[in-house]
């Protein structure tokens, strides 16, 4: 356990020194705050854009607070995922390419500990960044529109954080399997997109797909009835994450360094 903490401590220190712990949450907060603010001021923004003919009347129905929150989650589903994939993509492959694994993995540590420490650090980063973004969205929605019930918000937060963590785990897996970090990010984002699309096309058949998670999170702000069984998808996501850890540890053990 103490060795795991050493590994985790190194990951944490690296996130601090590389300012990852600063810029990832900042991006999330920025996008979280922007969505309600731009939605609220959209008519003014359009009016001031200047390229509208004189006398044009803009009439945009003001969305409800719930709709704004759901829309914000959509933003996190694209830009948030991209930021996470980019910040995790080199976690293992970059260390392998640089050659530092030839030193670290010769020390008597378990390969699972090496991978899971990275995974835990990534999860911590996601939880912190998304909490910042979500709170910013929640605050501005409450200030400009209306308060949103905190119970459903909390569930939405957890479900969507799980989705982010799921995609982050996939990135980590591909970082262990592939040489290139960019390829790892692309693979993980590709799978996430396929899962999300298939889940929204076949919601019944794929009720247990982790791709249901972002939809289920948004649904917390809509009719509660439509989000019947997010727990199945959540359980599936957790299961896949556990498998991802095992496979990544196996990949690291099998190929600790690039053979040159």
């Amino acid at each position: 356990m103490s060795r795991w903490l050493v590994l985790f401590g190194k990951e944490w220190m690296e996130m601090t020194r590389s300012y990852k712990l600063l810029w990832v949450p900042l991006v999330f907060i920025l996008f979280g705050a922007m969505q309600p603010v731009t939605t609220y001021f959209l008519p003014d923004i359009l009016a001031n854009a200047g390229n509208l003919p004189e006398g044009a009347v803009i009439s945009i129905p003001l969305p409800t607070a719930e709709e704004v929150m759901a829309k914000t989650l959509e933003q996190f589903g694209t830009i948030g995922l991209l930021v996470i994939a980019l910040s995790v993509m080199g976690a293992i492959s970059a260390e392998r390419t640089s050659g530092v694994t030839a030193i670290v993995l010769v020390k008597p540590i378990s390969h699972l500990a090496y991978v899971s420490a990275k995974w835990a650090a990534m999860l911590a980063l996601i939880l912190i960044a998304f909490a910042g973004g979500f709170c910013a969205a929640w605050y501005y929605t409450a200030a400009l529109f209306q308060g949103v019930a905190w119970q459903s918000s909390l569930i939405a937060y957890l479900l969507f954080a799980l989705w982010l963590g799921f995609v982050g785990s996939l990135t980590l897996l591909f970082s262990a399997l592939l040489r290139s970090g960019a390829a790892a990010a692309a693979c993980a984002l590709g799978i996430a997109a396929v899962l999300a699309v298939t889940a929204s096309v076949f919601p019944k058949a794929l009720a247990a797909s982790p791709g249901m998670l972002p939809k289920a999170a948004s649904a917390q702000f809509m009719d509660a009835a439509s989000a019947s069984h997010p727990w199945l998808a959540a359980a599936a996501a957790l299961l896949v994450m556990a498998a991802v850890l095992a496979i990544a540890a196996w990949a690291v053990r099998r190929r600790p360094t690039l053979e040159a």
Partner: protein, 316 residues
Amino acid sequence: MAMQNEAVLATVEGISRSFGGTQAVKDISFTLGEGRCTALLGPNGAGKTTTIRMLTGLLVPTAGHIRFRGLKPGADQRAYIGYLPQIPAFHGWMTGAEFLRYAAGLCGIPKREAASRSAELLERVGIGGAGKRRIGGYSGGMKQRLGLAQALIHKPQLLILDEPVSALDPIGRREVMELLGELKRETTILFSTHVLHDAEELCDDVVIMRSGRVAVSGALNDIREGNREPVLLLGVEDTREAREKLGEWLTGLSDACVVAVEHSPGSSSARLYVRNLDEARRYVLRQLNERRLPVTKLEIGYTTLEDLFMKAVGQA
């Protein structure tokens, strides 16, 4: 100095390793005696690094196995090994001292001890002053030293060093060689090199590799003794006449005491492997006199380890 009955720390039994279609290491075997310093010697591309990586567990042999004393075959040997890669890489954002404490933590050394050991090792490898600087700003030689320090952090039973001095400047080389000389008294060392001189200076045993196989292995003294051949080195004036005369004499040479002649046509020097040095000396001197060869150099002695090394790794 007889060390035959001493304990064997590790045994390499017929290991092979192939990458794709090419076999980098082919069925090699040797043992590492406890407290001995062994050099893995060979030209570039002989399979030294591959062999070393299999010993550290970073590579799995495609055939054969490695046994460590007190460990089941296939058990995790990493706790007993300290390893310096050929080109050590670190986290550039850490300081040297931080990296050593990190390495100590990975070996399960408690925090306080890790800190004192790190400081001590930084001093010992000669970069005490740079401990608080980021590794990103280190020179190649400093990284090599830091790599050595991290390999020593848990007082390993077996220290494995891949080309520890090849990348260093002459002064750094000397310092690290002296440090290795000290370490030799504390632990078992295996290091690879393509420089015979380094091996001769430090080692008790050598394993000479050539294209993936062991060409010669054993205790350095035994090898030196066992392969000592009397040899005469002969040089004549570098004129056409003298060279022709030398060639003539050598082709017509037939005496029981000369075993073999090494002479490339048209060259002004030759090497004669002989059976009995005394006899050969008398014979050759007489012949040189009779034939009035303009000798510039005549060296009478024994083959060196260098000759053996060149013979073992040469293409012949």
